[in-house]
């Protein structure tokens, strides 16, 4: 059990806690962990600044296990710990949606680095924000690239039957159709399985120009590998779910000629990013993932909002409501690679979609293009 109502913490300072909620165990833990670590880095960066104002900044990581029920129950616990002033998370849209209802009741600001589904912000909750782009932006951007740049006419779409994968694949499919491509297959796979040869055989026999996969690296990596083993050397494309070092690790050399849209850009392209990568590596002993920087940025945004709320409150601990309002009010926060500014739904006005290509078996992939709304 924890101490009461943020009254006092170590060294007599008032405690401010930031919670992260993301899957730390289970199939998509690589990305969930990245969010937590990004947040951890941001907090240790700013601990001093808060200490100066008399606050002890702390991180409380929660494991939502990619399970909506667990997410909601954690959200209730987070809501009841009044020293928590904001939540960074979740990774999965399916968990974000029900959990955010609880944050809303607690007027607790939530910033997701990664939840891309449209429903996340479309429900119009006051506390819900995200720094990443939406799937109805990411999908069509991918479709545009596939049809117009890669000149794909016949596209075979595979998706993982999760809230995220389906939403993205659908958005891609509809956009690609509009652009005149022929969708020659639209198939679902099961998360957690390892053998996708059946679907791939079907795809192979239909001779597509491009395969699109809506889903996450664990399955995506294997699909890429197994497709290559079947002699399918065509471009394979996916979304932010493939934007992870694990994709490369799983697919190995097969990853060449794989494209992906991501909502997070290549941090190594800017000086600030390089510094971030090094610091991250030094602190955690592992390389960055796509959402590491967004975990960091989202936390940065939150901390900035808290800071301004503290200032408004004459240096005293602000209310959650004030923090939520301050978060929504952020208009031009400079993140590692792009800016953050929320519209009235909580979507980031500056969110971009980036297109990457793997030329060799190395992560990150090579950024081809950055698309703004």
């Amino acid at each position: 059990s924890s101490s009461k109502g943020g009254s006092s913490g170590s060294g007599g300072k008032q405690v401010i806690k930031i919670a992260t909620q993301s899957p730390l165990s289970g199939g998509s833990a690589t990305l969930g962990e990245a969010i937590k670590l990004g947040a951890q880095l941001a907090i240790s960066d700013q601990k001093k600044a808060f200490a100066k104002k008399g606050f002890d900044l702390q991180l409380v990581p929660y494991d939502d296990q990619a399970d909506p029920k667990k997410g909601v129950s954690n959200a209730q616990q987070i809501g009841s710990d009044k020293s928590i002033l904001g939540v960074i998370g979740h990774l999965n849209s399916g968990v974000t949606i029900p959990s955010s209802e609880i944050y809303e009741k607690n007027q607790l600001a939530m910033i997701s680095p990664a939840a891309t589904a449209t429903d996340v912000t479309d429900r119009g909750l006051k506390v819900v924000n995200r720094v990443c782009a939406r799937d109805d932006f990411q999908g069509p951007a991918g479709a545009d690239f596939a049809v117009n740049t890669l000149k794909a006419k016949k596209i075979f779409v595979i998706q993982d039957k999760t809230a995220y994968g389906s939403g993205l694949a659908e958005a891609f499919r509809d956009a690609a159709k509009k652009l005149g491509a022929d969708i020659i297959g639209y198939e679902g796979i099961t998360v957690g399985e390892k053998d996708f040869n059946g679907v791939i055989s079907q795809a192979a026999s239909k001779k597509p120009d491009l395969i699109y996969f809506g889903g996450v690296y664990a399955e995506g990596g294997l699909i890429i590998k197994q497709a290559r083993d079947k002699g399918l050397d065509i471009p394979i494309m996916g979304g932010d779910g493939l934007d992870s070092s694990s994709t490369v690790q799983i697919a190995g050399d097969s990853v060449k000629n794989v494209y992906l849209t991501s909502v997070a850009g290549d941090v190594t392209k800017v000086a600030a990013g390089k510094k971030f990568v090094d610091a991250y590596k030094a602190k955690f002993g592992k390389g960055v993932e796509s959402y590491s920087s967004y975990g960091y940025d989202a936390t940065g945004v939150l901390l900035k909002a808290i800071m301004s709320a503290i200032d408004k409150n004459n240096g005293k601990l602000p209310t959650r409501e004030a923090v939520s309002q301050a978060v929504r009010a952020i208009q031009d926060y400079q993140g590692i690679i792009n800016k953050v500014g929320f519209d009235n739904k909580g979507d980031n006005k500056f969110a971009k979609v980036y297109i990457f290509k793997f030329d060799k078996a190395a992560y990150p992939a090579v950024q081809q293009k950055a698309i703004s709304k």
Binding site: T30, G185, E187, K194, N197, V199, S205, D229, G252
Partner: protein
Amino acid sequence: MLAHIIQTLPQVIVDGLTLGVVYAVVAIGYTMVYGILELINFAHGEIFMSGAFIGTTVLLILSSVGFLSSVPAILAFIIIIVIASLATGFLGMGIERVAYRPLRSAPKLITLITAIGVSFLLQDIVRFIAELKTGNYIVSAPSLFNDKIHLKTSAILPQFGDALFKSSFLVVLIVAIIMLVALDFFVNRTKWGMAMRAVAQDRETASLMSINVNKVISVTFFVGSALGGATGVLFMIQYGTIDPYIGFILGIKAFTAAVLGGIGNIRGAMVGGLLIGFLEMFAAANLSTLTHGAFGAEYKDIFAFAILIAVLIFKPEGLFGKAVVEKV
């Protein structure tokens, strides 16, 4: 439509066979333990997973000391599979000792709880070790058998397309068949096999026949788990990537296969595994063609389960299970 299905058939069969033999060997592990203790060893999927990780570890060690380049792949493979099976065999024995034996006189289902507990533990222990060593719990291994083999099935029948597979498929197939045959012989033709079946049916009386029941049960767990571990290695060889969660879904499928074949029956488990593997592959490849897009590959498990249920309705003891008529 039909033409299309026929055209992909050779490839579907090859793929179905690959997955099917993996199911089959894991299914046998379930069936053996079930046959003797009437216990569904839900931790078996995790033993399979542990085998895959142990095999990968050995493979990585071998390749880091440069052993791989100096000997033929098949030798390295044999070393790996032997070490992995021995290790998982002992692991299985240990699990039985700690988590099942103390509960032998308790209600049968309670072991389900310890089995689930053991599964969680194994998953997390493997994950922790993997993360500690590599920073990631998804592990890929260098591939041993990577030649592509082109099967000119179109030469047999012009309607057929060709099938393509990796040489690892042959290794998997051959090793699996050797294991299946050896095991079948062991259980049905040897004294120890007979002792296993006797223990399965009446432990108390078996002990009156000079059979050391604990030893027989340990041996059963050893053999079943070693098979599971060896299959883990086969899986790793074939698919190249493993994670601590591969045991769960595969375990369910293999268990389903065991039941489809008639649980407790080794040949049944073999056939059940192959059948499920093939059905799944066939459904994934053809369902949407067959239903004009109304139902796609995502329904493949429904398809497999529906067939399972249908079979059990008409033959409640599974395909190969003999209806044990209870003497009234």
